[in-house]
Symmetry: C2
Subunit: 306 residues, 2 copies
């Protein structure tokens, strides 16, 4: 198998991870977390979202966080925006990249944003137009691309259609997500091959969850099929909104260590990344499920270990 | 990729898992654990070891456990034996399959059993001869086949040599182990392809640890290269002896769910397997790190989840 020499990690912990944590986290801890992730060498960090604080109270301080993080030149700091009101707030906070989201499953979209997939895309048209007109970048998320908590299986054709709709909207990068972590490597191959037949995979990211333990196996399948951008969350921060107590986002540490071990560069300094996660854990008391975090912690606390 | 229609799970929790747990576990809990694993449909369960209780006090009650477990016809219940004294005890306890162990790394073997790889094999000759003469089966373990906590990298050629030595000893199955969980899928391909060029892979098992989160990715690589027997531990019971606090054996639940999802039958009933792990956890208070166990527990405690 030939693998790429380099891959990009798109860090979602401060937004996607924190959104799925019930415990309150201080603005200070969030800012320190993002800054530590920048120090670790991440080149894309989704900082927060500008959704209604009624819907996502965990990220109600998004504008403060954006104002206070120390942005490093060349690093992307996108934010999630659900509508024009969110876009206004994001622009006011100086965001230079916006992310919009829909789902491949009609049932999921209906329950999540009370709209059909097509209607949810229509809602984003003014957001997309204004973002692009301002010379800013737009990222699109397709959730439930590998399975839906409500309808179960999601046909590959539905994923291709939604990715096309987001590409038509002007998204420079489209993240295809396994929201409930049910994907398996054979399925990832099928979906990525179908996407690769129609789109340049340089603009497609894979967003996997480790709910059923298969996240890294799915990353490998994606990598072998041409994916070079992977979403992940530092420490595995997050959890599964559809199965409280289960694991959510794949841990950035686990993806980075896998890629490095396979000879794929990421630009991320694993030890500094671990420092970022451990500092966040210490500041918030939120336990992080990353296997690599546990292994490095064990190695640090005992000499001569693997 | 063509995958096999069926794979065998070789359950190591009651032996390898418990051996790496510092907490005392009652004989009752061990017997109930093995019986529940039998009920879950596992076809090979390594029950205990007959090593010196000074070295492995956790398994000092091996004879009692063997006497009390309810063996199901057609199911293998091997035990680990380090020498003739252990073999005597294993035979007295009615064991019908013995497992012996060595390492691919000279440094590891030296530290683990104070012998070179070749000398450790020589020590097993009388054990092997008597086991085979009694018409019983012999399994061989090769640890540190993908990396060593002392010497680091382990050449593929060294793995091939040790597997050959164990095959010459009469082992019907040889388990190639990633003792410290450092393997990556590309490395698994290299090692398995080297073994497949020389041995019938129907007699080779892959024993992976999830220390660095890559266990399932490595199982997939092994499966794609022709491995059909996988060692795993119910719930992920165990831990890494070289990095206390880190994850050890891959969880049987995680392997079984992966295989089933990919269309590979195992004969294991996942729900009953989860019952076995949850009962063990409840009886002993030892938390089990399996992702699938967490996901099924979450699903059971909340309707309508993934």
């Amino acid at each position: 198998m030939s693998l790429p020499s380099r891959a990009t990690i798109y860090e979602v912990g401060p937004r996607d991870g924190l959104q799925n944590v019930s415990q309150a986290v201080s603005t200070d801890a969030k800012v320190a977390f993002v800054d530590a992730l920048t120090q670790a060498g991440l080149s894309a960090i989704e900082v927060t979202s500008f959704v209604s604080p009624k819907v996502v109270p965990q990220l109600a301080d998004g504008a403060d966080v954006m104002a206070r993080v120390r942005r490093r030149a060349g690093v992307r700091y996108p934010v999630l925006v659900p509508n024009e009101k969110g876009l206004d707030a994001a622009l006011a906070a100086g965001a230079r990249e916006m992310a919009v989201f829909t789902a491949a499953s009609e049932s999921f979209n209906k329950r999540n944003v009370n709209a059909s997939v097509a209607d949810s895309i229509d809602r984003f048209r003014p957001v997309a137009r204004r973002t692009l007109d301002a010379g800013l970048r737009l990222r699109g998320y397709v959730s439930t691309a590998f399975g839906c908590p409500f309808q179960g299986d999601v046909p590959v054709e539905d994923v291709v259609i939604v990715v096309q709709l987001l590409a038509d909207l002007g998204c420079h990068e489209i993240s295809v997500g396994d929201t409930i972590g049910v994907a398996d490597p054979a399925q990832v191959r099928r979906v990525v091959e179908a996407l690769g037949a129609r789109f340049d995979l340089a603009h497609v990211a894979l967003h996997v969850h480790d709910t059923w333990g298969r996240a890294l196996a799915n990353v490998v399948a994606g990598l072998e099929c041409g994916i070079t951008t992977f979403d992940s969350s530092a420490g595995g921060l997050g959890g599964c909104p559809f199965a409280p107590g289960a694991t959510g986002n794949v841990a950035t540490e686990d993806v980075v260590d896998l890629l490095h071990r396979m000879g794929v560069a990421t630009g991320v300094d694993l030890e500094r990344l671990v420092d970022a996660s451990l500092a966040f854990e210490a500041a918030t008391g939120i336990p992080l499920p990353s296997r690599v975090l546990a292994a490095v912690r064990a190695r640090r606390s005992r000499a001569g270990c693997a």
